[in-house]
């Protein structure tokens, strides 16, 4: 049996209630939109990228606790990271929530992001956890089209 406390860990509940970096970044040089039409989860991601380093990152949006907490924790985790480091985190996060059984990530590399380990037991909610990360990838690639994980 799956366990709700695995999904709704305190870190997630807390970041949903008080999301970090929840604002518009006036000096952003990259923005991207993420939108899951079926859920209605929405996120706008703002980045100030300089010399391939994420100098500043913030987001605005609305949606379920998983999507909002994921955006909050992601922005905290990638701030100050290089593009390559952020992309490596993306892969590790993706493996943790949606990868095969052998893809379980090393919690050490993910830090607080390990709070989302329980999501893999709830396949319908993986897209909620992934939305902000796919939006980040689009922002780093300067993609113009809104991103969806549905």
């Amino acid at each position: 049996m799956t366990d709700l406390t695995e999904l709704y860990q305190q870190t997630i509940i807390e970041h949903n209630r008080s999301p970090r970096n929840f604002k518009k970044l006036e000096h952003a040089n990259r923005t991207a939109e993420g939108y899951n039409a079926i859920c209605g989860d929405k996120i706008t991601l703002y980045l100030r990228l300089e010399d391939d380093v994420i100098r500043e990152i913030a987001f605005q949006g609305s949606g379920c606790a998983i999507s909002q907490a994921s955006a909050s924790l992601m922005t905290s985790a990638v701030a100050g990271k290089t593009k390559v480091e952020a992309q490596a985190l993306f892969r590790a996060f993706h493996d943790m929530v949606a990868g095969g059984a052998d893809a379980a990530a090393d919690p050490g590399t993910l830090g607080k992001l390990a709070a989302f380990a329980g999501v893999r037991q709830f396949p319908a909610r993986v897209k909620c956890a992934n939305l902000s990360w796919h939006t980040l990838r689009a922002a780093l690639a300067a993609a113009a089209e809104p991103v969806s994980t549905e």
Partner: protein
């Protein structure tokens, strides 16, 4: 007899009416367990469960009667044709159409609306013309009209509603003009539960000679439908929402309307003769049923109609009214719960939001308790926008649901507070 099943909503007499208790046993899936708990199925507006009689009819058809229809001269094909056309007669009786040829088998309500939008729209809509729908339509009664309006240079107009989720009939009247070519309206709203005054809407349109299509997907499982009494021009339903199989639905159209419309799809079975220069088309209903139809689906739908015709609809109405009142009252006891859709005239469909918690989190948490509800925008994004919510949770009750099911939902909602605090 119906009063025996009516009780004051707040009384927790959770014992189901005897009629319901026996009927539950007809639906094998209702005995399923989810996460180690008995399934509490409250997503009937998305799709209903199927009685054993429907499952058996489909199996029996494939085991004993499968052949293509309207073609073979051999006896098996004749039997299949008789069963398929027999289902059409059952559908006629179910909707109280005058003639069986007024029933077109389609995939779903969505296809029924697309058929009319495309076929009626191509021949009746032009630049400056208007199609009138309501503010509470499912996407399936919005998008097909948008597509044909765009193609024909016509305009889509909308009848507004009030904060309870009831149509504003004065505003409706104001939007009926010489430019209005068709009115398309939902009978029972899938996200709000509102039962619309269809007969009144039809009468006002007909006073100006305007035809009316009714989306009956959510009405058919809850009430007897009489298309002659409603006097609508088109009425369409989905089999799977009325305890029949998926992939089959019916479109009723008044014979003169259907006869005046061009075919929707071309292919086998819908022609009289074909040459490379010219094709002449079959009479209705065949004109609108190109290709091998969903024979097993139609037969399964016929079995569902047989099943429904054996129910005491007075008891069903009283039971569902009791479930609506009881579940609404109990939900309002839960801190932070607000109902979305509070029309005076409602089917047993209850949309609600929990303060500070997104509907998807609510859905995941109550699922852990075995309670299946729908969460999201219910394919009615304009309704969500009107009420200023991104999504709602929706509990939709069928006649086989009980007060215990409502109690299970309320108990599961307590877990939402446990997880989210506050």
């Amino acid at each position: 007899m119906t009063t025996a099943h009516r009780a004051t909503p707040r009384t927790r007499a959770a014992r189901p009416a005897p009629e319901v208790a026996t009927r539950r046993a007809d639906f094998p899936l209702l005995a399923t367990r989810v996460h180690g708990r008995p399934l509490v199925y409250l997503d009937n507006a998305a799709t209903s469960q199927k009685p054993q009689a429907v499952i058996d009819a489909i199996t029996r058809y494939y085991e004993t009667a499968n052949a293509n229809v309207h073609r073979g001269v051999y006896s098996l094909s004749e039997h299949a044709t008789a069963a398929y056309e027999g289902a059409r007669e059952k559908a006629r009786a179910f909707l109280n159409a005058r003639e069986a040829r007024e029933i077109i088998f389609v995939r779903s309500t969505t296809e029924g609306i697309n058929l009319v939008a495309s076929s009626f729209g191509r021949t009746n809509l032009g630049p400056g013309d208007e199609v009138l729908i309501s503010a509470m339509e499912h996407h399936s009664n919005i998008v097909p009209w948008q597509l044909i309006c765009e193609e024909r240079g016509a305009t889509l107009r909308v009848i507004p509603m009030n904060q309870a989720g009831e149509l504003l009939l004065d505003e409706y009247e104001r939007r009926l003009t010489e430019r209005t070519k068709i009115v398309a309206l939902v009978h029972v709203s899938n996200s709000l539960g509102t039962i619309n005054p269809v007969r009144e809407v039809v009468a006002r349109a007909h006073a100006r000679g305007i035809p009316v299509l009714v989306d009956g997907a959510q009405a058919a499982p809850h009430m007897p439908v009489d298309v002659q009494a409603l006097d609508c021009d088109f009425y369409t339903v989905s089999g799977h929402k009325m305890f029949g199989p998926t992939g089959i639905g019916m479109l009723y159209g008044k014979a003169p309307r259907l006869e005046a419309m061009p075919p929707y799809q071309g292919g086998g079975d819908m022609i009289r003769s074909v040459t490379f220069a010219r094709t002449t088309f079959a009479e209705i209903p065949a004109k609108f049923e190109a290709g091998t139809p969903h024979i097993a689906g139609a037969i399964g739908l016929g079995a569902a109609i047989d099943y429904l015709s054996r129910l005491d609809w007075g008891l069903v109405a009283a039971h569902e009214a009791d479930l609506l009142a009881y579940a609404s009252a109990r939900l309002l006891e839960v801190p932070g719960v607000r109902l979305v859709g509070t029309a005076a005239h409602k089917a047993s469909v209850i949309s609600f939001v929990v303060a500070g918690v997104h509907a998807h989190d609510v859905g995941t948490i109550v699922d852990q308790e075995g309670v299946a509800i729908r969460t999201g925008h219910h394919c009615t994004q304009p309704v969500m926008e009107f009420f200023g919510v991104p999504a709602t949770a929706r509990a939709s009750f069928a006649f086989y649901n009980t007060r215990e099911d409502a109690d299970a939902l309320v108990a599961a909602l307590a877990k939402v507070r446990q997880v989210f605090g506050g």
